[in-house]
Every structure is written in C-alpha cells, then in structure tokens.
Symmetry: C2
Subunit: 374 residues, 2 copies
C-alpha cells in the first residue's frame, strides 16, 4: 500500500511515544535498539545492535524510507555514512551537529544574529568572562549533565586538566525563568511552532511544564516564536526541535537546542491538536504539518522521576488512587526500571484553573515516584 517505514535510532521513551501516532497514521516504525527491554523496543518492531557496528546500522537503515533519532548520542560519521548510503536521514547530519556540539551551536546562533549569552571556547589560557561562570562539555551532555558552575580561575584550570578536552564557557545568567518552545519544519520548508512552555527545573532537571506560559507578554511570546523559526530555517531543520530559552527581564537568551521530540513538548500529546510525536513523523516524511493549536486553556505536565527513598517499585499500584482522585489525569508510563534521577513517566492535565492543575500534577508525580503515599 506504499505506506512508509520510519527508522528511529534509539528505543527509549521518545521512540515509545512515537508509536501511538504511527499506529493511527498507518506508518511503520523500525527502531535500532540497544536492547529489546528498552522502553520503545517493548512496543515497536526493532533490531538490536550497537551503533559501533556500522554495517549493522547501514543494513537496518536500508529497509527504512527515512531514518531519524530519538537522542543526540550518535556519531556524526555514522549519520553521514547513512546519508551516503542513499537513505534519507532527518534531521540531516549538517543540522544535527548543532544539537550535538554546543560550540558549533553558539557560533551558528551568533552567525544568525540570535541572542547568545556571552561565551568563549576554552582550551586553557585567558578567560574573558567573569567568575562565577558556567563550563559545559562541548558534546554529550543532557539534562544538566555536562554543565558545571565554576567559581574561579584555579577551579577552571583544575577542571580543565581533569577532563582534558576543550570547554564551552558561558556567562552565568541571573535569569527570571526558563522557557522552551517546540518548532517543526519539513523538507519543503513548512514550519510550525507550538505555544511557548514554562519549564520548572529542580537540580537541572525539568520537573513540571506549563503551557502556555502564564502572564507572558504577547511581545515576548512572539519573540520566542521568531527565534524558534529563525533557528529552524537557519540550520535547515527537518523534524521537531526544542529551543530552551532563559528569560532575563525583557530579554531572551538561547540556552540549548535539542533536535528531536523533547520533554518540554510532552504536553502536546493531549494538549495540542497535533502532538510533537505525530508532527515529527509528518515532518521527516515530508507530509504537511498538523495544526499546533492548544485544545485547552492550560496544559500542565509533570515528570515522574525516581527518587532515593522509593518505597515501592510497583508503579502500577498507584493507578487506582490517582485515577480515582483525578479522572482527567493522563498517565504515561515508560516501563523503565526506577532509578534515582531517572525519568520513568509523566502525567498531563488540561484545564483552566492553573493552581488546581499544578497542584494535582505535583501530587500525582510525588505519588507515582513514591515520595508520598497518600
């Protein structure tokens, strides 16, 4: 029937959440998984292999109509090798590197005249920025990993010699809050954004999101959209991308890019006419993009994160309590083993009473992660 197969490198929860829209649209998925037990591999066709085994990856890719990713930890050479084998890969290697290499990302934002924090590359030597500052691994970091607060010159030198790799240094911003905006773009150049999202962080990990951002000025919201669209076009994005942005007074400063479906867009599964996962599939297949309108005044999403004091590893048990308490709560269970700091699920609640939504979502998350038991 000529329905396409989308290959996904990676088989975590982001691949898992592509399954519902793929089933609806009749699109086949094929995951390249590390193990059959991974969250996405549990519910989608997959092959198991190592990204180090280039032949295996190319053999798998040759059966896909297009290949995409659900995480950034994929060697550039491998993406280029798939492209060279004649299989379409989206985002392209040339675009994807801005998600993988923070230094190239900063240079590109500068070239596009978009708002960076003050930054410099560091390979030892002189520091132009004031201390304390932020030092970042140039590649491989996510969820606050690979990001370090550096108090002084001596600490920087010690840190640099311990890791022995170039660093990206950035000014430490005293930001008011952090937001994220999802944008999708197709090979034809059609682009669409969703409403900007407030991301509430704890220890560098997002715990809750609120969409749209309460009390944001129309002007600032519009600037956010303009930035997202400018980046999407500037890096020739195909697929969906999250742009994380710091708000400092009336100014916006770009923090990070993630060229894939992103935690800050999970609210869109129920909260938007078209979810980020459906949109990603449509974009990489060069189908027209879907309507990104909200379906409710507010969508609040909470991440279920494993904690140290977990009492009960049976995450099914709380279903009875939560579903009885909040019949409108949408529960997403990734079927991953609980470990401290690990995202194992999320919940979403739509409505217009923001205080109520946020408190119900907080309760649900605490209950699911085992932090409370009532």
């Amino acid at each position: 029937m000529s329905f396409p197969t989308v290959g996904v490198i990676g088989a975590g929860q982001l691949a898992r959440m592509m399954v519902p829209p793929a089933v609806d649209l009749g699109i086949s998925l094929s995951l390249f998984a590390g193990a059959s037990t991974e969250s996405g591999a549990q519910v989608a066709p997959h092959v198991v292999g190592s990204l180090a085994d280039r032949e295996a990856v190319l053999a798998w890719a040759s059966h896909c109509d297009v290949v995409t990713f659900e995480h950034e930890l994929i060697p550039q050479e491998l993406i280029v090798a798939i492209e060279n084998s004649g299989v379409k890969v989206f985002p392209k290697a040339e675009s994807f590197r801005y998600s993988q290499n923070k230094l190239e990302m900063r240079r590109k934002m500068q070239e596009l005249d978009l708002p960076n924090p003050r930054w410099q590359e560091y390979r030892g030597g002189e520091v132009e920025l004031e201390f304390p500052l932020i030092a970042k691994s140039i590649s491989g970091g996510y969820d606050g990993r690979g990001v370090f607060l550096i108090e002084n010159q001596q600490q920087l030198r010690d840190f640099y010699s311990s890791i022995n790799k170039p660093l990206l240094l950035e000014e430490r911003l005293n930001f008011d809050y952090e937001i994220a905006i999802m944008v999708a773009r197709s090979p034809h150049g059609q682009a669409a954004t969703w409403a900007p999202t407030l991301t509430v962080q704890r220890d560098g990990i997002c715990t809750q999101t609120v969409t749209p951002i309460p009390d944001i000025s129309e002007e600032l919201a519009q600037q956010t959209v303009q930035i997202a669209l400018a980046i999407a076009q500037g890096i020739d994005l195909v697929g969906v991308m999250a742009v994380e942005i710091f708000v400092v007074g009336d100014h916006l400063i770009i923090n990070e890019l993630a060229l894939r479906p992103h935690n800050s867009g999970h609210w869109s599964i129920e909260g938007s006419v078209t979810s980020q996962f459906e949109q990603h599939l449509r974009a990489v297949l060069d189908l027209p993009l879907g309507d990104t309108s909200l379906v409710a005044p507010y969508a609040v999403m909470g991440n279920v994160i494993g904690i140290e004091t977990q009492k009960d590893s049976n995450l099914y048990r709380p279903y009875l309590h939560l579903m009885a308490r909040t019949p409108a709560l949408k529960v997403h269970q990734y079927m991953k083993e609980l470990r401290p700091g690990r995202k194992v699920g999320h919940v979403t609640l739509l409505g217009n009473d923001l205080l109520h939504l946020r408190s119900e979502v907080s309760h649900a998350v605490d209950y699911l992660s085992g932090a409370i038991d009532e």
Copy 2:
C-alpha cells in the same frame, strides 16, 4: 513491575485502536488473531489461531490477566470455558450474550422496562406485527447485515424456509434519526457515559457521527443517558458498550447493543478526555474510569469505506492533499485492504463550526475512499 496483560479475542481495527492507550498506560496487550496481517496484529503482540481450537484459546488466555473481545462472533461455550479455566473475562459470558443474541436482548430490555420496538420471535406461524416489518437474524449480524425488510406474509415464509432458523421480527419504525451512546462500567459498578452521538447512516452503514447531537433537547439527552446506565447495570456490563437508539418524535426506542468499543465512539479518541479504548482497558482491569468530557464543542467522525469505483488503492497518496487542506484533521488508517463496503479507516475533526466540520469530514472521506480526486 506487576503491569497487567489484557488479552483481546480478535485483531481488527478495534484491537488496533487499543494499542495507543495501552502504550501510554504501560499495559501489555496480547491478541488472539486469525492472521498476522490483521489490522491489530500488525501493531500488537499476538498469537495466531482459530476460535475452534479451544485448547489453543485456553493456553493463550492462561497468560493473560483478563480477556476481552473486539467482536461478537465468539461462541458462548468458549467464553464460558475461559471463565471456567479461572481467567477473568469481561464482559462476562452472561452479559455478552445480550450483544450476541438479539432475542435475548429484547427479552432483557422488556424485563428492565426499557423501550423496545414491538417485536416477536418467529418460528413460522402467526405474525402479530404489521407488514412491512423488519426480520433479523438472532445472532451473527452487524453493520446492517442480518437485517431484512419484509413486505408481506409470503415473503416472510419464503425467507424463513430459506434460512431455516428462528427470526426476530420487529416493527418497522419511521424514525426521525438514529443516535448512539457509549457507556462504560467497571466490576466495582462505577459507570460513565459519553455525550450521545448522532449517527448518519447510508445503506445500513454509519458514514458519519456528530457529537454531541445538535439541537437535541436536554430531556431527551438525559433519557438517553438513563437508558444506557440502566442497561449497563441491568446486564452487569464490564467494559464499554454502544447502545443504538432510534428517535421517533419525543420517544426513544432501543435498536441494538454492542458490548465492545464501537464505531460510534471513535470520535472519543481525540474528542474526549478519555477515549472509549482507554476506558475499555480501565474498565476490564477494574481501574477507576476516566473523565468522559468533550474537549471541543463538536467532534465529527467520518468512516472511510471502500467503494466499487476505487481508482487508486494507495491510501497513503491522499495524505499530502488532506493534511495540507485540513491541518487539524486526525486520520486513522486501519491498514486493511480496500474492498467495497469495508471500513478501512476514519477521520475526526474537532471544532465549533458544525457545517464546516461536516463538510471537511465528508470531503476527506470521499477523497480517501477514492470517490473524488480533487
């Protein structure tokens, strides 16, 4: 992690549409399929077997936490055999027979003092009803199959001797329109209905649904809900059920029951906080039921039905046109081969401009089924 497995007998599109909520909730599905190519079997774990092979069904069922159905064509003895093997089956055999046997259904509605048309069992002999009348196969009919308009006594006699089985005769109603209401009920006895749905029929097959019913009186809508809840309790329903109802002036007359997710509830996938498919899983697992509120003023669903003059069997080709024309359209592709009269997909559109919604849905359906090509 103690997450349950729901066994589903049948692997058509209704089983397929259980996959998205199962993936979200972390619930495993296991289908008992006739073939791996069936719509649901394409996207869910399954075993292939025949319902005539009782040992195979019981062996499969023994690995499930609960067994349910996606169609009515299942021998009562088989359901009872699964129950006797100690595996939970919902709906229970005792309830499910009202979905399978139209004569028992009529007797039960009468016992519950709910509005039947005038009816009688026919095994030859005298006819109390006026001609023309409706003759129905007592079991095995669906989608207008097994329903016959009989003009006179001679025709009835000929028909009866040709099929040589008892018939259910019903008065031919001159109804104003036909509606359906979905109801869910759990083993604990918690019940929930969705808004009643207008079902637009052509040649005995539903082509479009509109939810809620435009211009229905509050009183009539309430009566519909009362009837659905009374039946659900009266037959000790567990799972979801569709109640099809004729509206004749200010009167409601029960037409059919279907004890499973039903075409007239497909709108709930996008149109309600909790879809009929998620609710069915929650009900058979005895989880608290979800919120059945609408998320938009109107939800219009259109069935994509194969036609004789089909020009192009590639159902993917129209995606480009439809998605570009109506970015908010939600397309559900069952991945079944096109055959005249066969439901191969559906589309849903939410909004407040009913005329616009109905015309866009009609266009999409005609385009997908190949009736038009622009």
